[in-house]
């Protein structure tokens, strides 16, 4: 019962916020809606019994990515753009107006439907397989998986993070004055 309610709330939060992300013109508001979406997804993770993933999601996104994005928006002025200058006889899409939105939505829908078509026989299956309705702690299992089966990916991701850290620091460093 709790799970169902949590699922309903999270889904509502996710979907309404995601509509906000797409619809709002203000990039700052978009970021805040993104925050809502991510929290909603974390809630969905929780309903799936993925406690560690859910908390990691909150930790990384709320504590890191969203703040980073807000900083970036602030440092770059925070304007969104509508441009009609590149209109090519009405044939090619001019990005940034309602036509684009519809076209993009259409394209995305087609893409998703393609995948749904591919996966349709899987989706018809119902009912959780893992753990049944029990939701035991996944932390220790995940720990074992990370340092046993997936140790290479684990190490590689640490290298990746280091690379991203150094790379971001170097790229964003202000230009030296000659």
């Amino acid at each position: 019962m709790f799970v169902q309610i949590l699922f309903g709330l999270s889904a509502l939060l996710t979907i309404s916020c995601v509509i906000g992300v797409v619809a709002t013109r203000n990039i700052m508001h978009s970021c805040v809606f993104l925050l809502g979406t991510l929290l909603g997804v974390a809630g969905l993770y929780a309903t799936l019994g993925a406690d560690f993933v859910a908390v990691t999601q909150i930790m990384v996104y709320v504590g890191g990515v969203v703040i980073l994005m807000l900083f970036a928006v602030m440092l770059t002025g925070g304007k969104d753009f509508v441009s009609k200058a590149q209109n090519l006889l009405g044939l090619a899409p001019t990005m940034g107006n309602k036509w684009t939105y519809s076209l993009a939505g259409l394209v995305a829908l087609v893409f998703v439907l393609t995948n749904v078509k591919l996966l349709s026989n899987i989706i018809t299956d119902a009912g959780p397989k893992t753990f049944g309705n029990e939701m035991p702690s996944t932390v220790s299992q995940l720990g074992h998986l990370l340092v046993k089966d997936h140790v290479l990916a684990f190490e590689l991701s640490s290298v990746l993070l280091l690379g991203a850290l150094v790379g971001a620091a170097i790229i964003a460093r202000p230009k030296k004055k000659q």
Binding site: A92, P93, M95, F111, T114, L152
Partner: protein, 720 residues
């Protein structure tokens, strides 16, 4: 006898600890922490000495070895076993090698504290020196090729850092890069060989490889049409060639003297270059299985002779020593090639000792007079008496004068080579190996004494330098290490008899200890050697002490050889010949450079001398052909492809195509307009450009849509 890991690990870990301490806290310590380095290496010397004592003085059977492993990497998943073991493997050879490396390294560290004093790179030098030593010790301790390769690369890195330690000098930087890149050529092949071995037998542990050879796993398989044993052996030997500076990969070693002299002594004379020979000896059964021995012998002979000729005309004291190192390594390779297993190893040891001593002496000379060019020296015998004694004894050793270590080991190699080339019924062309060997021995004697006479005898050729040279006093750090090493250039330490020919017996029953202890691995013994592996942490319970009686027997020998008599006579001939050759060489040098009775021959062969001075143009050839023509050419080709083809046709091409189309349209406009119709042509051109522009809009998002559309249609077409 139980060896716990705790009694073996400090050999490797003490220098590593010294490295870590010096790397992080070196600057804060008094004297930049050089005493930490000395202490670390000395600890490993003590532990090595214990193992050496146990192995050599009869605690174990001659074929006893310690093999401890632990699982380093376990990526087993479900039922697929994929794990990798590391471990320690010590046999007689490794025990002797450990003592040599740590002992020589200790003395060199000690000497360096004097030599590098007040040097601006003091701290950096004493950071890399223990790391280097530890890598070499680790290489000797490791039980498999992959660990060997890792330490091999660490040594490569250390030598790079030590050669380029004065990185502000352009030559030093170039030399370090050259050393790194040249050895890299060999290393690539070494790695290839290791991978090939792993693919075949699923392990790179020495014992497993030996067992696999004995079981014939290598036979019948081939890579690229070459027999597998040949292929892997060749790859491993190429690695050894790079590290041991064999022709044609020798070019890096002479330049490596850009680093401080004690560094050269440790790296480019005593230990690192020996790693290649060590690898060849470890993998000797593979070389035999792959029929590579003749090839190895020929490479060795060419190196031995060629480097000796180049050394004749060098004027830099360190350059002479560098080329003599290459030449002596060539002798070791001859030894490997002609099957003179223990002599090659013995020469490795003796050479390490006397070459370290020679380099340290050269360092002492350079430090005293701040000059490296021999034409500016002369008469230093009085100023540097101890250095003179050390250098003179070592030169006698390297020249192969009886009662010195070089005679014992080199003559055994030459004797075996003589037998192998002339009497073993091989291809007569292979007689070139002993001939080049003896010729090289003659040249060795000559150029070493040329160096001695030019440096220490005669009158000072540059009075100013002579007057400013410091008078040498006996000191614990500056010349006691030299003298200690000098003591070990005497022959009886190694052979039991002073000459190696059994003339004078000194140590009784264990007279031929090298021959008894070091022999080519009998691969059959290693079949099923899994049982002898012991886990890493638990104290081993495996003991195998041998009854003393067996020690007196002939267990170490491979068995009665039907050609024993022939071999013996070859040895006698070789010994006599090389004594004569060595003395002639020394005498010739004496006549030329002390008495002046014979004018130096150089002016008579100006062309040849120039060739020698340019080191047979190897550097030039590499520079011009491999780098300029090959790599630069490749670069240029790529650049040309980038600029000429990609840029011109793909990028500018679009523009040109557009322009051409426009031109066509214009022509069409002008010519056909009246006849056909004005608007048609214009619209056609417009439309065409429109399509072009849509595809090439430069808009990321448009590309993204295209990507999705293409992906969707791809999936769609696949599934419907």
């Amino acid at each position: 006898m139980e060896y716990s890991v705790g009694s073996i690990a400090p050999i490797f870990l003490a220098p590593v600890l010294a490295f870590v301490i010096n790397a992080f806290f070196g600057r804060r310590l008094p004297r930049n922490g050089d005493w930490v380095a000395v202490l670390g290496v000395f600890i490993s010397f003590i532990f090595s000495a214990r193992i050496f004592g146990d192995f050599v003085f009869g605690k174990f059977a001659t074929d006893y070895y310690i093999h401890k492993t632990f699982t380093w990497l376990d990526l087993s998943y479900m039922d697929q076993v994929w794990k990798f073991d590391l471990g320690i493997y010590i046999d007689n050879m490794a025990a002797i090698m450990l003592l040599m490396v740590s002992g020589v390294a200790t003395l060199i560290h000690l000497f360096s504290t004097w030599y590098m004093d007040h040097d601006p790179r003091h701290g950096r030098f004493f950071t890399f020196l223990p790391l280097f030593t530890s890598a070499m010790l680790g290489l000797v301790l490791s039980d498999n090729l992959l660990a060997l390769f890792m330490f091999w690369e660490v040594m490569g890195f250390c030598s790079y850092s030590l050669i380029g330690i004065y990185y502000e000098k352009e030559e030093a930087g170039d030399a370090s890069i050259k050393a790194f890149m040249t050895t890299r050529v060999g290393d690539v092949f070494l790695l290839l060989g290791i991978v090939a071995i792993y693919m075949v037998i699923g392990s790179v542990t020495y014992t497993d490889i030996y067992a696999a050879i004995a079981e014939g796993k290598f036979a019948g398989q081939s890579v690229l049409g070459i027999g597998l044993a040949t292929f892997t052996g060749f790859c491993l030997f190429l690695g050894a060639m790079g590290k041991s500076a064999q022709f044609p990969l020798h070019v890096w070693l002479p330049d490596a003297m850009m680093g401080p002299t004690p560094g050269s002594a440790l790296i480019h004379a005593a230990t690192m270059v020996a790693a290649g020979v060590y690898l060849s000896l470890r993998m000797y059964p593979l070389m035999v299985a792959g029929d590579l021995t003749a090839f190895i012998a020929i490479i060795g002979a060419i190196t031995a002779f060629g480097a000796a000729t180049i050394a004749l005309v060098q004027t830099d004291i360190k350059a002479v020593l560098a080329f003599s190192t290459i030449s002596q390594l060539g002798y070791m390779m001859i030894g490997v090639g002609v099957g003179s297993y223990n002599a090659a190893f013995m020469h490795l040891i003796t050479h390490a000792v006397f070459k370290a001593c020679l380099f340290l002496s050269a360092g002492s000379v350079i430090h005293s007079i701040h000059e490296q060019q021999m034409p500016k020296m002369g008469g230093l015998r009085k100023k540097l008496p101890y250095t003179f004694i050390a250098m003179f004894c070592c030169s006698l050793a390297i020249a192969g004068v009886p009662f010195f270590s070089g005679f014992v080991s080199k003559d055994r190699i030459l004797g075996d080579a003589l037998y192998w080339g002339f009497m073993a019924g091989q291809n007569p062309m292979l007689a070139i190996v002993p001939i080049l060997g003896f010729a090289g021995a003659f040249l060795t004697a000559f150029y070493m004494f040329r160096m001695i006479f030019l440096t220490f005898f005669g009158t000072p050729r540059d009075q100013h330098i002579y007057d400013h040279a410091h008078q040498e006093h006996l000191s614990f750090t500056s010349n006691v290490p030299l003298l200690i090493l000098t003591v070990f250039t005497l022959g009886f330490w190694y052979a039991g008899s002073l000459t190696g020919q059994g003339i004078v017996n000194v140590m009784g029953a264990k007279t031929e200890w090298f021959k008894i202890l070091v022999e080519a691995p009998q691969v059959e013994k290693f079949v099923g050697s899994e049982a002898k592996k012991t886990p890493f942490i638990e104290p081993t319970t495996y003991t195998e002490t041998l009854p003393v009686a067996v020690l007196d027997g002939q267990t170490g020998y491979a068995g009665p050889n039907p050609d024993e008599h022939k071999i013996h006579s070859a040895h006698v001939i070789g010994a006599v010949a090389s004594i004569i050759i060595a003395l002639t060489g020394i005498f010739l040098a004496f006549l030329m450079y002390v008495k002046g009775a014979i004018k130096p021959l150089a002016p008579k062969f100006p062309g040849y001398v120039r060739t020698l001075q340019n080191r047979y143009y190897f550097d030039k050839v590499y520079q011009d052909i491999v780098i300029k023509k090959g790599l630069l050419g490749l670069n240029r080709l790529l650049a040309w492809f980038d600029m000429g083809i990609y840029d011109r046709f793909a990028v500018d091409g679009w523009a040109k195509v557009n322009r051409v189309l426009f031109r066509i349209a214009k022509w069409f406009d002008n010519v056909v307009i009246d006849a056909v119709g004005v608007d048609g042509a214009g619209v056609a051109v417009n439309l065409f450009n429109l399509v072009l522009r849509i595809v090439q809009s430069g808009k990321i998002q448009f590309y993204f849509i295209m990507l999705i559309v293409v992906l969707c249609s791809y999936i769609w077409t696949l599934n419907f």
